[in-house]
Amino acid sequence: MRINLPNSAFLGNLDSFLRRFDPSNPKELLITANKKWISVHPIVLTMIAALGQTVPREKIDCEALEAKSRHYFERMRLFEFLEIDSGIIMTEHDSSGRFIPLTQIKDSTSLTRFITEMIPLLHLAPIHAEPLKYIVSELVRNVLEHADSSRGAFVAAQYYSKSNTVRIGISDVGVGISRTIRKSHHSTDDLQSIRLALTPGITGTTDREGGTEQNAGAGLFFVKSIAAVNSDFFVIYSGTAFYKLLKQKTENKNPLQADPLEDRHSAGNDYPHWQGTVIGIDLALDVNEQFTALLEHIRNVYAKAVRARKHARYKKPIFV
């Protein structure tokens, strides 16, 4: 496998970063890097950390980072996860900033602890902490319940003062969305699986409306909706499929759609294969709609989607 730390990789331009990922030869990992400046979304760090867990340490080859921004990767604990001595020395005047360094979460109790501890690290006001806790809980629980990976979830986040945004990345190297969703639904390809996974009320655990006692198939829809209402980026990458919710146009009065392909988006089904699932979201704090108002939007769309599916299953009378 080969992955390159580019000059820039954020959710807006993540496509080109993913296109350069080479998943061939999964027994080795080569990490290359831009020599001058590297500025990347936390999602990139979670991907590399997750990949690093799938190969023995001696099979990881990481170029020495020369970029001026290399301290960021030490600070975010990337080299610690790769068990590599970066040779980067952090001096006392390095600003700690507002970030959540790479964290591996393998069980429910660790997740609960992580959610409690992460908010002080980002210094967020309660109004902003609430959707963030919601997002991280739903996404990491999805990994713990569906990824079937002993390595769990890799999480990182960073606050960017210039855009007043919290950017979050969560990756796993589990079975991927298609394998999970196909347990209960027909899916022709990885993009179709992502589409189903983002549709409210669709879960891989059952084809029954309302879900099982533990799963409703709503978590990803809620997270995508939080991004849509606030006109933020949301991306999901699994298998060979990549889906990106684009920033919504400001005049859009109905930003939520039950079908993710009806949202303003870009998507492809021919990306380098990622064994597992990668999710990224940007949460702009300036435009954060009140969480309760957002939930009201979700409520309306959700109920409509369930009713539409129910209606589609009605048997029609036969007139002879």
């Binding site: 409690t116 919601y134 809980s137 409306e209 709503a218 809620f222």
Partner: protein, 96 residues
Amino acid sequence: MTIIHLKPLIGDFAENKDIARDIRIKMLTPRVSKGKKVTIDFSGVSGATQSFIHALISELFRIHGNEILSLISFKNCNATIQKVITIVTEYMQEAE
């Protein structure tokens, strides 16, 4: 009437579905199965995920139908938690 105080069980953010299931199995189901009323008190809880509320009450809808809402009440919920509970109770009733 039994009152279940959530805060000591789940902290100030209700997201752990495993605990939600335990509360349902050990505290809710035995009581409502006997027709007894239960109040779930959210005082001190600032938020709840849909997944938590689903794990807490959805199975009771399957067993008791809409009537479960005559046996369970929700106390001291802030606006967000009320909204999440409303979403779950609505889609479970739609699913019936």
